[in-house]
Structures are given as C-alpha cells and as structure tokens.
C-alpha cells in the first residue's frame, strides 16, 4: 500500500524538491501544506502515515502544530519528524518533549531522509 507523507513547511521550493526526490526513490505519496494551520487540517482529514514538520513558519509555528497534533486523538498516533533549519538544543528538547519521533536538521540528503522516514515508519507501525 502506498504510504502518505505530509510535508508542512512554508518554503515552497523546499517542499517541491522533497516531494519530487522522495517520490522518485520510493512509493510514498507526498502531500504538501505550506502553513501550520493548513497542515493540521490536512493531517486530520487525510490521516497521513507520517508528517515532516518544519519549526519556523509564519502563523502557527511547528512546535505549536506538533503539540496540537499530539494532543488530538485523531492525529496523536501519526509519527512526526521535525525537519528544520533550527539547529538549537532548546528547540530539539522542546520537540522531543512533545513526542516528535525524530529531529532532522536541514540541509539533508534525500537518501538520508528516506532512511529516517523508513526507520520511524517501521518502529511506529
């Protein structure tokens, strides 16, 4: 079965390449949301198998999105990988404290990203 991955990131070009590159080497179906609020809506509606979540976004930031998703019973079991440019211990601790499943710093190679997604999916299923 084709697994659905939701990317929530305000950098449209970044989302575009992650989608193209991941789809080229996997069977994942990639959905994109470029705002936190939109991401929450799609997550509730589409129930993706995994979410790649940025932190610094206009409107609702990624850490807030993470809390909302993990605090809602419809979405609390969806594994979430933070995919962010924020290379700070403070953010990492906050994200892990809110039960994200991994924390990846940009830039990241496609194969590494695929490997991390695969690992999280196999653990959480």
């Amino acid at each position: 079965m084709m697994e659905k991955i939701l990317i929530v990131d305000d950098e449209e070009d970044f989302c575009y390449f992650v989608k193209k590159n991941l789809e080229a080497i996997s069977n994942y179906k990639i959905i994109i949301a470029t705002r936190g609020r939109k991401g929450i809506q799609i997550a509730r509606k589409e129930k993706p198998d995994l979410i790649l979540l940025d932190i610094m976004m206009p409107g609702i930031g990624g850490l807030e999105v993470l809390k909302k998703l993990k605090g809602n019973e419809k979405t609390q079991n969806i594994p979430i990988i933070m995919l962010t440019a924020k290379d700070e211990d403070k953010s990492r601790i906050k994200a892990l404290g809110s039960f994200c499943d991994d924390y990846i710093i940009k830039p990241v190679e496609n194969l590494v990203l695929k490997g991390k997604i695969h690992k999280v999916l196999s653990i959480t299923k």
Binding site: F14, F17, K20
Partner: protein, 379 residues
C-alpha cells in the same frame, strides 16, 4: 674597554641593552656601569639611523638613548621609530633637560629620563622599573587583545545564531534541487554529473561553516571528568589512521612518565587536539616530523593554578610568518584556502581551552615549523 663575552645561557638570563651614545668615552662608561649592574650590552650605536637598524637586528630588551647624536636623526626621532616599529622601551640618558627637549621626548613615551652625570643606583632603579613596566604593558596589551578577541567571537556567535536558519533553509533547497537534477540529467552528460557533484560539495561546505559558527553561540557547559591527557592524545591520533594518510610523516611522542590527570571536557578537548594535529599534518604535505610532548610546568605569573600541564604538538612544516602569526586566532583567518579551510579551527580551539581556564599558545619559525602548546591547570 675590552668587549665582554657572554655565554648563550648568560645572554638568555641577562637583559639585553642597546646603548646609543655618540661620545666614545661616555659610551664606555655606560657600558661598564651596565656590566657592573648585571645587564648585557647587546650592541652600541652612535647615530639615530644606526640605533634604529641595531634595534631591529638585535631586538634588545631596552634602548638607553642619548638625545644629541651625530647624523641627521637625533635620539628622539630614533626613539619614536623604535617604539612604533619594534615596541622596545626607551630610556633617555642625556645631559639636556630644557623644556622644549622634554616636550619632544615625552611624545615618544619613554620609560625613563636620566640626566648625566648618573650613578649606578639611579641607572639600575630606572632600568628595572622600565623593564618591569614594559613587561606589564605587554601583558596588559595581550589581555586586552584576548578580551577583544573573545568579545568578537561572542558577537559572531550571536550573529550566527540569528542567521543560521536563514542560510540553512536555502541550503536545503540547493541540495534538494541538485539531487533532483542529478536524477534527471546525470545520465545524459558526465559533465553535468561533475557540476552537480561540485554544487553538492559546496552546499555541504557552507553547511559545515554554519555549524562551526553556531558552536561559538552556544554557552559552553563543561562536562568535565578526570582524564589522562596522554591517553586522550593517543585516542585522537588513532582517528587520523582512517582520515589522513600519514605515510611520509614520522610521529614521535614523549609523554610525561608520571601519571597526570586533568579535569576536562573530553569531547571539547579532543576537538582541540584534533584541530591542532590536523593543522600540523596539513603543514607537512611532503612529510616531516610530528612531535607530541606532555609535561608538567611550574605555574607562571599568568595563572593562579598550582601546577600546569603542557601538551605540545610540534611539526616541521613550513611555519607561519610573523605577520600571519598575529592574526592566527582571528575567526575566518586561514592560509588553507586551497584545501578549503574555514579559518575557525584555531579560534575555536583557543576558546575551548580558555573555557578550561587554560591557554593555547602558538609559536612558529618560518621554514622550520610550528609548535602549539595547550596549557591546562591540574585538577
């Protein structure tokens, strides 16, 4: 008076004085007094021009300067040049003390002004005070420079932290785009494959610089433990077996026989050792000798610690010029552009050693090699 010969050891201990005096008998008198007082006369000059030349060649600890000299340049003009060019302290020894002369002399910031005729006691006290004052002045300058440097690093850290994510986001797009093109085009043309590879490498390089910069911004919380520095050096050296070919480089170690333990953050200090070993290895592309020593050192005036441990990493590479040596701890200063050095390794190493209440000193002789000394207090 016959020239007094000193052994090298004596010369090392005795303070070297350059005597500038155009009257032969007066010059001999001064030299005799200096010998009686336990100083070494490193040379003598009779004109301002000669004084400047000898100050440069001999690098004395102090210049005892007459004001009225033969030739176009008088003692005050010569002193101004010597102070500004070589930072050697000047003490005037003259028969003149009129107001105009004093005003001119003041501008050159002398460390003393002695009127002829003088006696040994007066000469000795003024020279001792001048030498001590100059030593303290140098120490103060060094501390000021270190403060400026650490403030610069802290400012750089704050700045880097603010812009890091602004750089990392576009880097993510560049890498993603390169990988996309690689999939689509690299089978078409090998030149495109090479171009994409270079773009990706540059992306990783830029990312590495941002990561290094971020290290300056992080408050340094030391996770210290009791570590044997000899063991940590051995462990760090073993990392090079896999990273850098050491075929032409001979490694010699001379570790202190008695057990030494330091209270240090292992990962931070290993990073310092790694940076310094890498610098030493890279300075010898055609081979050479890498000498690593550890030993105990008596506390210096610059440290409050009871005992100090020195870890010395010396190479026989090309060395560093005097001009470059002054800039070596400045962030982004590098002589390794061609091998993609970021110029952050040494400034970061110094910061990490300073965080341990220690110091990192680099000594170098162009053409002969460089020695890095990590000085750390014992626990």
């Amino acid at each position: 008076m016959a020239e007094v010969k000193y052994s090298i050891e004596e010369k090392m201990k005795k303070k070297q004085i350059l005597v500038v005096e155009d009257e032969r008998i007066a010059a001999e008198d001064i030299k005799m007094s200096l010998h009686r007082l336990g100083y070494a006369v490193s040379g003598a000059a009779i004109s301002g021009k000669e004084a400047v030349k000898k100050a440069e060649d001999l690098q004395p600890d102090l210049v005892l300067m007459d004001i009225v000299l033969v030739g176009e340049m008088d003692g005050i003009e010569a002193s101004a040049l010597i102070r500004s060019r070589f930072d050697i302290p000047i003490v005037y020894l003259t028969a003149y003390a009129d107001k105009k002369m004093l005003e001119r002399a003041k501008v050159t910031e002398p460390f003393g002004y002695i009127l002829k005729p003088f006696d040994d006691k007066e000469l000795c006290s003024i020279l001792e005070i001048a030498l001590y004052k100059h030593k303290m002045e140098r120490k103060l300058k060094k501390t000021q420079q270190e403060l400026i440097q650490s403030e610069k690093l802290a400012a750089l850290g704050r700045f880097s932290s603010g812009i890091a994510h602004e750089i990392k986001n576009p880097l993510g797009i560049i890498l993603g785009g390169s990988e996309f093109l690689e999939m689509k085009l690299s089978r078409v043309d090998p030149e495109i494959k090479t171009a994409i590879k270079k773009i990706k490498e540059s992306t990783f390089r830029a990312d590495r610089i941002v990561k290094d910069l971020l290290k300056f911004s992080r408050p340094s919380i030391l996770k210290t433990e009791r570590i044997d520095p000899n063991g940590l050096i051995r462990e760090t050296l073993s990392l090079f077996k896999y990273r850098t070919p050491l075929i032409e480089i001979k490694i010699k170690t001379h570790f202190a026989k008695e057990k030494m333990f330091l209270e240090i953050d292992k990962s931070q200090m290993q990073q310092v050792f790694f940076n310094l070993l890498l610098n030493a290895i890279e300075s010898m592309p055609n081979g050479g000798l890498l000498m690593i020593k550890t030993y105990k050192m008596a506390p210096s005036e610059f440290s409050f610690a009871k005992k100090l441990c020195v870890i010395e990493i010396a190479d026989t590479g090309e060395g560093i010029s005097k001009k470059n040596l002054q800039k070596i701890f400045e962030p982004f200063f590098t002589t390794k552009r061609e091998i993609k050095g970021t110029g952050l390794g040494l400034s970061m190493s110094k910061m990490l050693v300073n965080n341990h209440n220690g110091d990192l000193v680099i000594e170098s002789k162009p053409g002969k090699g460089t020695t890095a000394k990590i000085i750390l207090p014992f626990c």
